[in-house]
Symmetry: C2
Subunit: 148 residues, 2 copies
DNA sequence: ATCATACTGAAAACCGTTCGCAATCCCAGA
DNA sequence: TCTGGGATTGCGAACGGTTTTCAGTATGAT
């Protein structure tokens, strides 16, 4: 079964190897923001003969082909998600690591206006918010159990 | 002559060694966003017996003491600036690497509102804009000379 | 089916950063 | 001022994520 990303890759004229097919499948099925090791872990479950080096190479290939997008969430490694038509940003729950996606046309417009006022045209931008749930925002301990 | 940052360090009760004094001076005099190697380069000019490891250690110390702030501008390394009362963000000129600082209370408020609507209290955030000057925004070649 | 070419796996290199350790320094107290 | 001992330093090794090298393999145009 040819995955969404695999189809995209073929459209772009990329040579389709077995490992690229598997990685495309993994990324098509992912609904989170896996890092390279995680993609490798999932890929190996489908076909054990995929090396981490190939995953790194393929991620870059797909990124350059605009099929996936690199996401920098502040931990040391690169995370990825399928490239979508609609631009969004991430709110990271620092307690759980949960990632919430959001989009804000007003915010985008404001950012555009700011750059323009400074005499610049935007070619890229990055925005992440780190937060804790409002409910238990009072206790700001760094390591604590959930209440029983 | 005791630098601004050196005074701050003493207030915080940090042991003041020769190399910490030099690094504090370098950072006090900097009006840009140097990375660790750059700080080391400048420090060595004042006192050649400062190792890069000590610069790394001292940057972390000063960061933990809230005397300086780490800035992530997207290139692989950590950059630093003196901690100031007024929060700001950076617009990076992708042509020249020039960094323009800006602040926007409206933008901050909007970001706060977004997080709140998602049920979160912000504990940190990151925003950088990458752009090119409006003047020569038309030609988007990656490597080109200034016009003569 | 053939063949040039692009791709792969494994290991080494890379790059920014941190760590382990023995030597040295700083400074509170005498 | 002199000291003792914990903190700090320099050096090199280790680290973690990523890229590269290279010899062998697979791909897809012919
Ligand atoms: Mn996302
Ligand atoms: Mn700044
Ligand atoms: Zn945006
Ligand atoms: Zn802000």
């Amino acid at each position: 079964m040819t995955s969404r990303l695999e189809a995209l890759c073929m459209e772009k004229g990329l040579k389709m190897t077995g490992q690229r097919r598997v990685i495309s499948q993994v990324l098509s099925e992912a609904d989170d923001h896996p890092d390279v090791e995680e993609v490798h872990r999932r890929a190996v479950q489908i076909d054990p003969r995929i090396s981490i080096a190939t995953v790194y190479r393929t991620m870059r290939l797909l990124e350059d082909a605009q099929v996936i997008e690199r996401v920098d969430l502040g931990d040391g490694r690169a995370r990825y998600e399928e490239a979508t038509a609609d631009h969004h940003h991430h709110l990271i729950d620092t307690r759980t690591g949960r990632i919430i996606e959001f989009a804000s046309p007003e915010l985008e417009a404001m950012k555009e206006r700011i750059a323009h006022e400074l005499g610049y045209k935007i070619v890229g931008h990055r925005l992440e918010i780190y937060g804790v749930p409002l409910d238990d925002a009072g206790d700001d301990a760094q390591d604590e159990e959930e209440r029983p």
